[in-house]
Each structure stands twice: as structure tokens, then as C-alpha cells.
Symmetry: C2
Subunit: 290 residues, 2 copies
């Protein structure tokens, strides 16, 4: 068991109430009076999630984007964010990127905390949103007979990362400045039987959807739009694209541009089938420790 | 200007909307439909907020307590928390302390994130609560003529810290396991014209209340209950006591056990007067970079 899984399991064991039930999901759903709120918290750590020489404006943008993408997958309208920021070099750039991302999505900064620290910097962001459709889509709702869809083209963030790494002059924006699909998530929320964002790689996230739903998902790789067609597995296992992966009931088609990439089947031997080949182990299917 | 103040100012300048307005307050107030929500986020960093050999169960407890104390000062009922946790040594103790604190206050863990990182560990916690009284008490509401009150005894956390540091065998719990005054905050919310928790030291927090309210606050040190009466300034400038500091309109007395320690005056030369002595500089009045 990974250290992360062990920690989450120990939280579950110790917290003798509803605690920890969503710790391995991307979002929490909280009903308050007549409102249904969606909350998510992501951290980014220097050296783990970004290189020490990264532009801190990109780091801040990505921190906002990754959390808003979690809200997008729930069909939520963002209400605001709180940021936890460790002060250090690049604070002005971090503030600039944070302001750009929040202005772009018209999301207010509600508050937060700034701290001093030595060593690698850590940053946390909490986003809160309001559900636009109840029940809120979950990764656990896929049913046998559903079709499986994904928005956009997979592998764009990978190519952006490589452009940055190699200083090739190619476009690195898809890696540096991902765009959460908020409007698309809201359009899908009333229709999708299951939905999540593709933050850790298409195959890993599809595997997780299948596990959460108690089904098998069969993906036809020929139907997956790839940014680097000669490297299909790289595109399908690299994360950071923040596309939406969703299941639709039989006979439904997507109300937004998206590709049908597979089908949901009754749970068989493996949670995931790629071109008919059963994949039983999530290792290697994506980025497991974001 | 401190690095923290500069960062917050740059956020304010760049974020051309409601952003950042609460970044130097302890909490954000968010109205959603008919509900008034209170959100707060605090971070703790190894080496800054706790020593590397601290029991991680105490660190987790304090992280929960400091955020719930922010909710207490708003008269809020906690709805849940999200935790951002950097994995490392003591994960099992952190999980145990988190579970103990949440069980003690019957607050669910809604979700969060776990990350890997090298170097000093960082931990963030977001607490969300529901206002029990509107308008929500703020630090900015003190009015000339009000009386100023504080709960409990100041300096208990200081003595607890010293007991731990010196291994004296005396009680270190007030430092390690502070208790947020949730019920007290709810009782005060309908009455207090201003309220905040004393997290960074009585004098610094009173100074901040005066600044935010545009008034002067005159404190009579003889009225402040001190855990170490021979060291009044230490007790009044050490933080971590998580008592409640509040102002009441003329003629009101506190519905909970508390001490009247001063009066609110029209804004004079200095925001704070201690036994008649004007204090114009917050430096040295408390712990400024928690």
C-alpha cells in the first residue's frame, strides 16, 4: 500500500463518523439548508508538482485551474477560493498568476493564509462552488450499457511540458495554463451518469471511475483524440489535461463537443479494458501522486 | 512593509474585483442563497509553527483548533474541514490527532489532498461553518463607548510551551491542545459589536481590532487575568491562547464568563492604550507571522 493510501486508511479507521469518506475523491459535497455546496482542496509543492525555476505565475494559475476543474466535473458554479501561500521568491509572480486566473473565471479570492517557511515551498487552494444540478455527478455513477466520452484532445499538456523542458519554442501553454471546463461541466451535469476530470491520465482516471462504479470500462484507443498520435500510451497516461471524462446513458449523445471512446460493461475480471486487453493494475496508467 | 503585507497588497492591486478583501482578516463570509457561510484557511509549517520533534498529533489538533477558533469568533457552527497534508514521518500521529480533534468537536472531515514533498512539511486546513447570527460579528465593529472583554486567562499557552521546552513536567496541554470556544462564540454573536480570537497575543489582536474599527482601545492591564502575574507583558503578547476578545455595547454584560479589560474610545493618536500609554506600533505586541 502506498504511503498516501496508508494515511487515508488510518484516517478512516480513527475517525469514527462520516469523516474521510471523500478523501480519495476530488470533491466534497455538502448540503447546507437548501444549498448543495462543492468543496475541493489541492496542494502543490515545489520539487514535487513544479520545478524550482518555474514561473510562479504559472504555478498559481495551475493551482486555481486544478481546483476549478474539480468543480467543473461536478457541474458546479465557483463561488470563491481560499489560498494558503508560503512566502518566498516569486511572490509577485504568484500574486499576478493568481489574479489572472481568478479574473479569467470571475472567481473572488475569499481569504487565506500566508506563512513563512524554509525549504521547498508549498501552496494550497480551497475552492467552493454551488451545485447547478442535483444529484451532483460523481465518478461512481457509471452503469453497464452507458457510453464513455472524453472532451478535447489528450496529451496536450504532455507536449506543452516537453516544449518547456526542451525549450523548443513550441506552445507550452496547455501545460502551464490549463483551462478548466466549467461551462461544459454544467452542461453535462444533468445528463452524465458519471463524471470526473482527467487530471492524472485518461487510463488511470477511467480505471478509477470503473472501480468507484463497480463496473468495467472498455476503451477503444482508436477513438481517443491524441495530441501525439504516434505516442498513444503517453497521451493516455500523462495527466494535467483537465478534460472531462463522463458516461452517458444509452441513446444519449453529448451536448458539448466530445468523443465517444468506449462503453461501460458489467464488472468483469478487470476494471479497465484497452482495445480488449484487461488492465487489472492501476500502476503505470497515470500519475498517481499528484 | 513585511513580505506578507507586500504580498497581500500586490494581490489586492492585481485582483480588480472583490478579491483579497478578507486576506488579512481571519475568515471570509460568503452568502449563498439563504445561508451565510464562514470559511477560514490556516497553514502550519514545520520549523515555523512547530518544532521538527513535535508530536504530529498535537500539530494536527492545533491546526483544527486554530481554524475552529476563527469560526468561534464568528459565532459559526462548524460544518466540516478539508485538510492538505504533506506526507512524512508521523503521519499516523497526525491522523490520530486530526481524528481526535474532529471527534471532540463532532466535525466531519469532508476531503482534502495528500502530497509528497521533500524538506520541511506543510499542512493546511480549511474549515467551513454556518453563521448562527447575522450580521456576523467582525473585528471592525467596535464603537466608542463599548466595553472590551476577554474570556479566560492569558498566558496559559506560553506556560504550556515553556513546560514542554523545559521538560518541567508542568501541564503543556494549553499549548499543545488549545480549545476553541465555539459555544461561547455562538452565545456572544448576537450581542458583541466586535469579536475576534486572541491567536497572536492580546495586545496585537486588540490593536488590530482598533485599527479595523477606526477606534482606540484602552486596556487596563490590572483587569486582564494572567496565568503568570509576574510577567504581564509576556502573557499579553504571547499568542496561541485562542480566547475570545470582544466589545459589548454600553450597559451590556457578558452572557458567558469573561473579564472586562477596557473601553473603546474615539480614535485618538494611538489605536491602543495600555494603562494610558499610547501604543502606535504593532511591532512587539504579539506574534505577527503565524
Amino acid at each position: 500500500m502506498s504511503r498516501e493510501a496508508a494515511f487515508i486508511q488510518s484516517l478512516r479507521a480513527l475517525a469514527n463518523h462520516s469523516a474521510a469518506r471523500n478523501l480519495d475523491d476530488d470533491c466534497a459535497v455538502l448540503e447546507v439548508g437548501a444549498e448543495t455546496l462543492i468543496l475541493t482542496h489541492d496542494m502543490m509543492v515545489e520539487g514535487t508538482h513544479y520545478l524550482p525555476d518555474a514561473d510562479m505565475a504559472d504555478v498559481a494559475w495551475k493551482l486555481v485551474a486544478s481546483n476549478l476543474s474539480d468543480l467543473a466535473a461536478k457541474g458546479a458554479q465557483p463561488l470563491g477560493v481560499l489560498v494558503g501561500h508560503m512566502l518566498g521568491t516569486g511572490d509577485d509572480r504568484f500574486a499576478a498568476g493568481l489574479a489572472q486566473a481568478l479574473a479569467h473565471y470571475d472567481v473572488p479570492l475569499l481569504g487565506g493564509d500566508t506563512v513563512a517557511g524554509s525549504g521547498p515551498k508549498a501552496h494550497g487552494l480551497t475552492a467552493i462552488g454551488r451545485a447547478t444540478h442535483v444529484p451532483v455527478p460523481a465518478r461512481s455513477g457509471a452503469q453497464a450499457g452507458d457510453t464513455v466520452w472524453v472532451t478535447g484532445t489528450l496529451g496536450r499538456a504532455m507536449l506543452g511540458f516537453e516544449a518547456l523542458r526542451d525549450a523548443s519554442g513550441k506552445d507550452s501553454a496547455p501545460y502551464r495554463r490549463p483551462v478548466p471546463l466549467l461551462a461544459e461541466g454544467r452542461a453535462l451535469a444533468p445528463l452524465a451518469s458519471a463524471m470526473m476530470d482527467v487530471s492524472d491520465g485518461l487510463l488511470l482516471d477511467a480505471f478509477r471511475m470503473a472501480e468507484a462504479s463497480g463496473v468495467s470500462i472498455a476503451i477503444d484507443s482508436a477513438c481517443v483524440p491524441l495530441a501525439a498520435p504516434s505516442r498513444p500510451l503517453d497521451c493516455m497516461t500523462w495527466g494535467d489535461d483537465y478534460e472531462l471524462l463522463f458516461a452517458l446513458p444509452p441513446g444519449r449523445t453529448s451536448p458539448i463537443p466530445a468523443s465517444m471512446i468506449g462503453r461501460v460493461e458489467p464488472r468483469g475480471f478487470a476494471p479497465l479494458l484497452l482495445d480488449g486487453e484487461p488492465l487489472v493494475n492501476p500502476e503505470g496508467l497515470g500519475y498517481a501522486h499528484k
